[in-house]
């Protein structure tokens, strides 16, 4: 039983029946651009696109017969004739919808070789720092255009030019970087072929479900991990907050985690007594407790071990109690850490002088 108002395509997909489609994307409206989902419906003269035909009571649909198969092959061959199919070097290879369709539908090699191959050598738009747009691989399915309008609400791109020259373009055909594009990458996520491709792409070996660390919206996402590095992020379709959507920061902003500028060891200011680096090393080896007070010296930090750091902090905090001391927590830390930190301030430092940047 299919839902009322469902299209032939979604009803068939729900029932596990395969209908080939290139321009269909469940997140955006159907346009019926590619014509690969043509099906024959009993009582109707012409084949109809499954993605645009609403099911009716008692409707009899043929998803495959020799006539439909012939039509699909011709359509596919025409799409291929306009496609730069250098699959071996394409990062999309293996996940490409067009590849999958060729495997499913097949093509007539003899007829295909006689077609005029119109694949043009159009310039690749590499202006965006996160993804490239290669118009030579574009199949004009318009999923990116619909995504930009319906999901992102930006309308940075649309179809431009006519006939053979039809292509996806920004306003006035400017590079993406100079357009109103906000680099959210929603189009890139949905591109069925290798036309919109992330710049630094590595396949993750595992994924971890988590929550975005940027703004207060708290989008659900999966971090793709390879080794000990975050290589990609994708929105969590099941998240009640973002339903799979992400913004530029949430999708591409994770290099900071692996930044070489990250702090690794506790740092301490070099004090007068230990101003010479050698004496600091000495102190490290002996691990003798650092006594207070020391004179602060302008200048460098030295790395110390965690043991020393914890002991130093604990012993120096013990000198201050109540109103003399304050603690500032962080809106970037977890609930558990904030709970613990306010407990620490109230119990160990004996003061209510705790706050964070909520009012900033």
């Amino acid at each position: 039983m299919a839902d009322e108002g469902a299209t032939v395509l979604t009803a068939a997909q729900d029932a596990g029946i395969y209908i080939p489609a290139l321009c269909h994307c469940p997140d955006v409206s159907s346009q019926g651009v590619c014509r690969l989902c043509l099906v024959r419906i009993e009582g109707r003269r012409r084949p109809e696109p499954a993605c645009r035909t609403i099911i009716e009571e008692g409707m009899v649909v043929f998803t495959d017969d020799p006539e439909i198969e012939r039509l699909r092959r011709v359509i596919l061959e025409l799409i291929l004739s306009d496609h730069d199919f250098n699959c071996l070097l394409c990062p999309k290879s293996g996940q490409c919808r067009l590849q999958e369709l060729v495997n499913r539908i097949g093509f007539d090699e003899h007829r295909f070789s006689r077609l005029e191959h119109t694949a043009k050598d159009l310039p690749i738009d590499t202006s965006n720092p996160f993804f490239d747009f290669n118009p030579n691989k574009c199949v004009q399915c318009t999923i990116c255009v619909r995504t930009c309008h319906e999901i992102a609400g930006i309308d940075a791109i649309d179809m431009a030019y006519r006939s053979d020259n039809l292509r996806v373009s920004t306003f006035a055909n400017k590079p993406l970087k100079d357009s109103v594009c906000v680099s959210c990458g929603e189009c890139m996520e949905r591109c069925p072929v290798g036309a919109l491709i992330p710049k630094k792409f590595k396949h993750p070996t595992r994924e971890v479900k988590t929550t975005c660390p940027y703004c207060g919206v708290g989008c659900g996402l999966y971090l793709g991990i390879r080794g000990n590095t975050i290589v990609r992020a994708r929105g969590d379709d099941e998240s009640p907050v973002n339903h799979g959507g992400l913004c530029v920061r949430g999708r591409f902003g994770y290099d900071f985690v692996n930044s070489p500028d990250r702090l690794s060891l506790p740092l301490m200011r070099a004090y007068d007594e230990y101003a010479q680096p050698s004496s600091v090393v000495e102190m490290n080896e002996e691990g003798r407790p650092i006594t207070l007070p020391l004179v602060k010296r302008e200048g460098k930090f030295v790395e110390i071990t965690w043991d020393q750091a914890i002991r130093y902090v604990a012993s120096s905090l013990a000198h201050y109690k109540g109103d003399e001391i304050a603690a500032i927590s962080s809106a970037r830390c977890t609930n558990e850490e904030n709970y613990l930190f306010q407990k620490f301030t109230r119990v160990a430092l004996e003061t209510n002088n705790i706050d964070h940047c909520a009012r900033l």
Binding site: P129, G153, G216, S239, N258, L267, F301, L317, I328, V347
Partner: protein
């Protein structure tokens, strides 16, 4: 938050993110939603695509203005005059929800009298918005339901921020737009876990779940749970801490995961206050500008390297999970705190994992007590969630408000000028904001690509002002306030109105907050980031030299 808490009983987004796209009317004031909360911006876009009416109030021509039915370009800092004007029209044209006011609210009469004191002509004069537009906005918000209000720091970062929020709360109460789906007064919170940090009691006046420090019953409960004596008096707020440090009353400060030297107002003062400290401990993932001033810096682990929960702006408690090992020898904050506490000989810090901490917390926190790690494994739960069967609360106040009487309070508020107004010497108003491509000062700069999109500070200035000062687009100009000055390139644009300039605080090289004013809101103690008076000067010498050298050396 203090403003909402005073009107309704608790300070949090009243409704859910998903409800925004179902609203019939959206009033977005002081929020550049598409830049700072893009996913919520999409909800607004979707609502408009479905036919909702959108009213935008902002001095800058933000991207949302393109979708708006009405754009109210008010002068910076005049929000209360605008909102009161709107409410006057609603009362005069009898668009208010009288039944709701009688059943669910109190103190209405005094409020109505205060609104009637000022007429629309006064509002027009103060805000610069025509009376006609105020009437149109009032009719739209007052007659189309459900209507929702969205706001962010454009409302709160003023010396009268709490009053701004109360004015918005009055507006929602007046039209009965609260306690139902797709209505409410919704502060969109900026930091990922600012809601959670407040809920967890990282505040000087409350324990977890906003249980007051000064309430003896509550204090005894926590003293029993933590097995210690607790201070009965409220602590200092963050902005007061720096005053106290400056005066030598605070001698030691332990700070984690914040960068006040870049992001706080009047940073010169903050730096000076920090230099007076005897002991300054910073815990962060980067050596921030603030950490550079510390005595000890403890390296913390990032969000991807630890377990825990975040609470988002719609009160939804969600899991984060450890995806990779901490970089180098950095460690999760909770482990560091536990170690220090144990080393100090303090009891009650023996936790093996974050789940144990969460369990201890939820027993003490009524609004979180029904939430546990198993229940939020797949998707988060919105507090209040009092027991294990409770499904969570998508919108607040459907039955009663969290005040002692259960009724919401109308509060008369009136317009006060910003703490700093323009003068002959400082004729421009400076607004500060965040860039769509950056997040504060560190994270995105350490990620590749973002600097390509926006690599340096650009001061937005109106073409008329630029022409008067003979400033060229891209020229380096000097912006000075009474507290200091910074230099950056000019960006001549009509996004800002004449007389107003706008800068971000995303770039550590251009320390915008040297300029901003520490004038505090009397209740919330929020500094006035959004309005300060500045003057603009050309950096003539630099400009001319550059051209001259090119000519002289023949290398052009």
């Amino acid at each position: 938050m203090a403003g909402l808490a005073a009107s309704f009983g608790s300070g949090a987004m009243t409704n859910s993110i998903n409800e925004i796209s179902e609203a019939a009317c959206i009033f977005a004031i002081g929020t550049n939603t598409t830049a700072n909360h893009p996913i919520i911006g999409r909800q607004v876009t979707r609502a408009v695509q479905k036919g909702a009416r959108l009213i935008v109030a902002d001095p800058r021509r933000i991207p949302l203005c393109r979708l708006a039915d009405i754009w109210l370009r008010l002068r910076p800092g005049t929000d209360i005059a605008l909102i009161n004007g709107i409410m006057r029209v609603i009362i005069e044209e009898n668009l208010m929800d009288t039944a709701f006011i009688e059943e669910r609210c109190e103190d209405y009469e005094a409020f109505e009298a205060s609104i009637m004191e000022h007429d629309l002509a006064a509002a027009e004069k103060i805000t610069g918005v025509s009376a006609q537009d105020i009437v149109r906005a009032a009719r739209m918000y007052g007659s189309i339901a459900p209507a929702t209000i969205l706001y962010t720091l454009g409302i709160t970062e003023h010396s009268h921020g709490t009053d701004n929020v109360r004015a918005l709360a009055n507006l929602a109460l007046l039209t009965g737009n609260i306690g139902r789906p797709s209505t409410g007064v919704n502060p969109l919170r900026g930091q990922n876990n600012v809601q959670g940090a407040c809920d967890m009691g990282a505040l000087p006046n409350v324990y977890t779940g906003y249980q007051e420090v000064e309430n003896e019953e509550v204090r005894i409960k926590f003293e029993r749970a933590w097995n210690c004596k607790l201070s009965p008096s409220n602590g200092l707020k963050m902005t007061e801490m720096f005053d106290a440090a400056h005066e030598g009353r605070i001698k030691a400060l332990y700070l984690k995961g914040e960068d006040p030297v870049v992001t706080d107002a009047d940073t010169t003062f903050i730096e000076k206050a920090i230099s007076h400290l005897e002991l300054f401990i910073v815990q962060d993932i980067f050596l921030t500008e603030t950490a550079r001033l510390a005595d000890v810096v403890l390296p913390a682990a990032s969000f991807a390297e630890k377990d825990g929960t975040f609470t988002n702006t719609e009160r939804r408690v969600q899991r984060i999970r450890k995806a990779i090992e901490p970089r180098g020898n950095s460690r999760p904050d909770w482990m560091i705190i536990c170690d220090i506490a144990r080393s100090m000989g303090v009891e009650g810090f023996d936790f093996d994992n974050t789940q144990e901490i969460f369990e201890e917390m939820r027993v003490l926190t009524p609004s979180y007590s029904g939430i546990n790690y198993e229940r939020i494994e797949k998707s988060g739960i919105q507090w209040p969630c009092p027991d294990n069967e409770h499904p969570g609360t998508p919108y607040l106040y459907s039955e009663r408000f969290n005040t002692s009487s259960g009724r919401a309070k109308f509060a008369p508020v009136s317009y006060r000028p910003s703490a700093e107004t323009t003068s002959h010497e400082y004729p421009f108003i400076l607004i500060t904001r965040r860039s769509a491509f950056h997040y504060h000062a560190v994270m995105t700069h350490k990620a590749e690509g973002f600097d390509e999109l926006r690599k340096e500070e650009r001061i937005e200035i109106h073409p008329t002002d630029a022409a008067t000062l003979e400033i060229q687009d891209g020229e380096v100009i000097k912006v000075s306030s009474r507290r200091g000055s910074v230099k950056a390139k000019a960006n001549i644009t009509e996004v800002v109105p004449a007389g107003v300039v706008c800068m971000t605080f995303n770039f550590a090289e251009t320390r915008t907050n040297i300029l901003t004013n520490r004038a505090l809101d009397p209740v919330a103690k929020t500094p006035e980031f959004k309005v300060c008076a500045v003057k603009i000067e050309r950096e003539e010498s630099a400009y001319i030299t550059k051209d001259y050298i090119r000519w002289g050396t023949g290398k052009s």
